[in-house]
Structure formats: C-alpha cells, structure tokens
C-alpha cells in the first residue's frame, strides 16, 4: 500500500476539522474523498502534506510513518498537492511557478519535471514568461497541476479540480489525471462534482463533519443513490 492513513485527526488550534479518519490508496489507483462543504476534505489533504496540524493517527507512506516529517521531506518521498482554489503564485511567471513546484528537487529533476509539465499542458509552454495571475481560470488549474508534477510525485493529492472551470477544461484536466493514474501514480481526489469523481475513482470515501461515514468502491457509490443523495447533495 502506498499511502495508508490510520485514525487521522487534524485541525486548527482548538478547532477539530477531521476525526479518526482511515483510508488508503495504492499505486495506479484513485481514491475519491467526497463530502459537503466544510466536511474536512481540504484539511485532510493539507494535513497529509504536513501543513495543517495533525492531531492524531498515523500517515504511512510505503509503510513508514511520515507524521513527524516536514513538507519538504514528504515531497522528496514523492508527495505533491494541487490545492483547493489552485493557489498558483500570481506575481510569479508560469515558469517560476513550476520552479517552486520543484523547489526541493535536484536540478535535473526540476528540468525534467518542468519539461514534463509543459508536455502535459502545451498551453503553459506558450505562456512560460507570463505572470500566472494573468492566466485564465483553466490555465491556472493546469499550472497548479503542472506545478505539482514537477517534483515527479508518486502520490498526488488533488483538491477540487473542477471547481469553477468550463466543461471542456475539466475534461482536459481529468484526461491528464487518467493518464497519470495509468502511469502508476496514486491519487487522492477531492471533488464536489460527484459525477466526475466517480468516473475516475476506484474507491470512494465520504466525509461528514470531520467523520468518515461511508466507504466503498466507486461502482457501489454510483449505484447507491442514497449515498449520493444523503452526503453529496445530489440525486
């Protein structure tokens, strides 16, 4: 198992955002984390990166606990995040955003990773020297994905990939996700858009108010309309 999370608790100061959450993903698989707004999905991903405070549990990467490691170590071990709201660095150029993505990488990895990102998203290549803040929403999402890929991760955490994007762009981003999965990346995917998530996911975990309330395969989730209706707000 590439990533195994056991009894994760996470939060902000006294605020508990996630409680006793367990899940796992293996190479070449996609786990979708679903749940309403405020359920604790983003907090979970940020806790996996070591940014939001972990309060309990274990995060096992290839079997060893990385709970105590800082973000740079986790990236070196193969993790990377595509955060909610893209959060590209608007004052930096496209190229510089990618350089940040490879901040902890060797120069060779950085060069190869940047080339790789441009290969996935040729539109970024045309805009290397442009300020990232001047990109369209779709291009910014591509940049956020590209930035995460520069360090050549094995485990990708993706938060709200489709939010606020045009359907054509969403498809383009999901095609890249599918390609990444077929190359053997493990992906944890947070989505509000259940339909998209279920189409690409292998397994699904549903969070509600910081608690895990349902777990199963994507097929089961798609069939079980009670799940989607009750927890995801769609019928």
């Amino acid at each position: 198992m590439m990533l195994e999370v056991r009894g994760l608790g996470a939060g902000y100061g006294d605020i508990v955002a996630v409680r006793d959450f367990s899940f796992s993903v293996e190479a070449g698989k996609v786990l979708a984390l679903l749940g309403a707004n405020g359920a604790g999905k983003s907090s979970t991903l940020m806790a996996l990166m070591g940014i939001v405070q972990q309060k309990a549990g274990e995060i096992l990467l290839d079997g060893s606990d990385i709970s105590m490691l800082a973000a740079d170590q986790r990236i070196k071990l193969g993790m990377a995040i595509v955060p909610e709201g893209r959060r590209i660095f608007p004052d930096l150029t496209v190229q510089e955003n990618l350089v940040v993505g490879g901040h902890v990488s060797e120069a060779a990895t950085l060069a190869a990773g940047t080339a790789q990102a441009y290969e996935y998203f040729p539109r970024l290549k045309e805009r290397t020297g442009q300020k990232a803040g001047s990109l369209s929403g779709g291009e910014q999402q591509m940049l956020a994905l590209g930035r995460a890929l520069v360090s050549a991760p094995r485990l990708l955490l993706v938060d709200e990939l489709s939010l606020g994007l045009m359907p054509r762009i969403i498809d383009e981003c999901y095609e890249v996700l599918a390609k990444l999965r077929s190359e053997g990346l493990a992906i944890v995917l947070v989505e509000q858009n259940t339909e998209h998530a279920l189409a690409v996911a292998d397994e699904v975990s549903v969070l509600e108010a910081g608690n895990s309330v349902w777990f199963g395969t994507a097929k089961e989730a798609a069939k079980d309309s009670a799940i989607t209706a009750a927890y995801l707000g769609t019928a």
């Binding site: 940020m46 990166m49 940014i51 800082a70 973000a71 740079d72 986790r74 990236i75 070196k76 990377a80 995040i81 955060p83 959060r87 660095f89 608007p90 004052d91 930096l92 510089e96 955003n97 350089v99 940040v100 993505g101 901040h103 902890v104 930035r147």
Partner: protein, 287 residues
C-alpha cells in the same frame, strides 16, 4: 545649474533613504510588521563602520563587517523579538519594535558614549568636478554606485535564482510556499539578513558623509522610512525606491525654497499627506 545640483544632491540622499526603507518594505511584505527597530540597525552599521575603519584603516573591510554583523543581529531580532509574537495582532509587534528602538539608543549611549564617534582619517573625501562649479565627494558618488549595484544585484537574484523565486512565492502565499517544501523560517532569516545588511550599508555611508555617528542617528530615519514605505505603497519594492528618491529630491529643493516655512524633516510628511490625499494606496501601491 542650481536646479541640477540640488537634483543630484537629492538623488544621493534618496539613495540612502532607499537603502534604509527597502529593508522595511522587505519585512513588511513578508510579515506585515512595521519594523521601526530597523533604524537601530542602521545606526549600529554606522558605529561598526567607523570603529572598524579606525582600527584597520580599511573602509571596505568595515563595510563588509558591518553588513555581516548587522545582518546577523537582524536575524536575531526576528528570532527573539518578533517570532514569539507573530500570532498576535500587528500592533503588538509594532510596540515591541518601538521599544527595541528606544532601548537601542540607550545601549549605544552606554556602549559607545554619548558624544558620537568620527573617522580618524575620513576616507573618500576627494572631490570630482561634475560640471563647472559643482563638485561631488567621492563618498557621495559611492553612495549612488552602491545603491545601484546592490539593488540591481538583489533584483537579479530574486528573479534568477531558486532562492529568489522561493522568497517571492513566500511573500505572496506563505502556506502554499510551505506546501512545496520551502522553509518559511529560512526565508524569514534571509529576509532579515538582507534588510539589515542594507541598513548597515546606509549607516556606514551616512557616518561617512557626516563624519559622525551618534546614538540618535537613527531617530529621524526611523520615522522618515515609515513615511517612505507608506508613500510608495506598503509592500511595494519599486514604490519604496521611487518614493525614497522622490523624497530625497523634494527635500533638496524644499530646503532651499521652503526652508523658511517648513523644516526639512517635516517635508516628508507634507509630501506624504499630499500624495495620500490623491492616491490613498501610495505611489505604486495596488488597489
């Protein structure tokens, strides 16, 4: 020709303001702290410059030592004065900073004496005739050269090195920067080192131009630099430099033409008030 002379004098003074105020902008940009104690480091730079020059006879060495020592002390100021109160509202850090600044003046008085120090053999006193009847001291030319060289070097580094890019990323979104493995702590240390080293350079140069460093040397710069960074648009590096040069020039003219009505040091605030009435966001500030 008087116009041109005043202009050049203003640029010299403005370069000094720029070296001092840039550090404030760097600290404000990263931590949203108004780092009043920055001016104490400026004064310390002056002391180190004079003392090391007098001991070794080398002004260049003095400059180098001042930059390193003051840079490290700036890092210590961050570590011990600001870091423990970063999660508090910004005015707490401001109060701490003012306290530190006042304390520093007294410390300098005790350690270096109340009357100030001078260069025994002031270096760079030769003059060059820029045009007929107008001369600049080597020291004044050095001020402009150093300002241009240092600021260009910094601009180049911030645009062309991974550390520079990481620093700029951290300024815009520290949490995301951290999520990509940038050590925020190190960025802050580096930021304070550079800011403080620039203040030290300015201190050494002012001590040279006045051939005097005294405990209160930082008191006027402390508030004038605040006016400059507000004038430039808080957090804007380019704005800070424009405002610094503009203020230097305005003061140069103002002393001649308004000297009877308005004190030189009051001009900064008159200028500040006028600009903020027209552009509340400052000269190059956003929004």
């Amino acid at each position: 020709m008087l116009y041109l002379e005043l202009f050049i004098q203003g640029i010299v003074q403005g370069s000094i303001y720029g070296l001092i105020a840039l550090g404030l902008t760097l600290v404000y940009g990263l931590l949203r702290i108004l780092h009043v104690a920055h001016a104490a480091l400026f004064t310390l730079g002056g002391y180190i410059g004079v003392i090391v020059t007098n001991f070794t006879g080398s002004f260049a060495l003095a400059m180098f030592v001042a930059m390193i020592v003051v840079g490290v002390i700036g890092m210590a100021v961050y570590k011990f004065a600001y870091e423990p109160i970063l999660h508090r509202p910004p005015y707490i850090a401001l109060i701490a900073s003012i306290a530190l600044f006042i304390a520093s003046e007294e410390i300098y008085r005790i350690v270096f004496g109340p009357f100030g120090l001078s260069y025994i053999n002031p270096p760079l006193q030769g003059q060059i005739e820029i045009f007929s009847g107008f001369r600049l001291k080597h020291g004044e030319i050095l001020v402009m050269v150093i300002a241009v060289v240092m600021l260009s070097a910094l601009a180049w580094l911030s645009a062309n090195t991974r550390t520079g890019v990481a620093w700029r990323a951290t300024v815009t979104d520290p949490e995301m920067a951290a999520a990509f493995g940038i050590k925020i702590q190190n960025v802050r240390y580096l930021n304070f080192f550079i800011a403080s080293a620039l203040a030290a350079v300015a201190g050494v140069l002012v001590a040279l131009l006045n051939n005097l460093v005294e405990p209160t040397m930082g008191s006027v710069p402390s508030y004038k630099a605040l006016a400059i960074i507000v004038l430039g648009g808080l957090g804007s590096i380019r704005g800070t430099l424009v405002a610094a040069l503009a203020l230097g020039v305005i003061e140069a003219y103002g002393t001649i033409y308004l000297g009877k009505i308005l004190d030189r040091d009051a001009l900064a605030f008159a200028f500040l008030i006028i600009v903020l009435m027209v552009r509340p966001q400052g000269l190059l500030g956003e929004k």
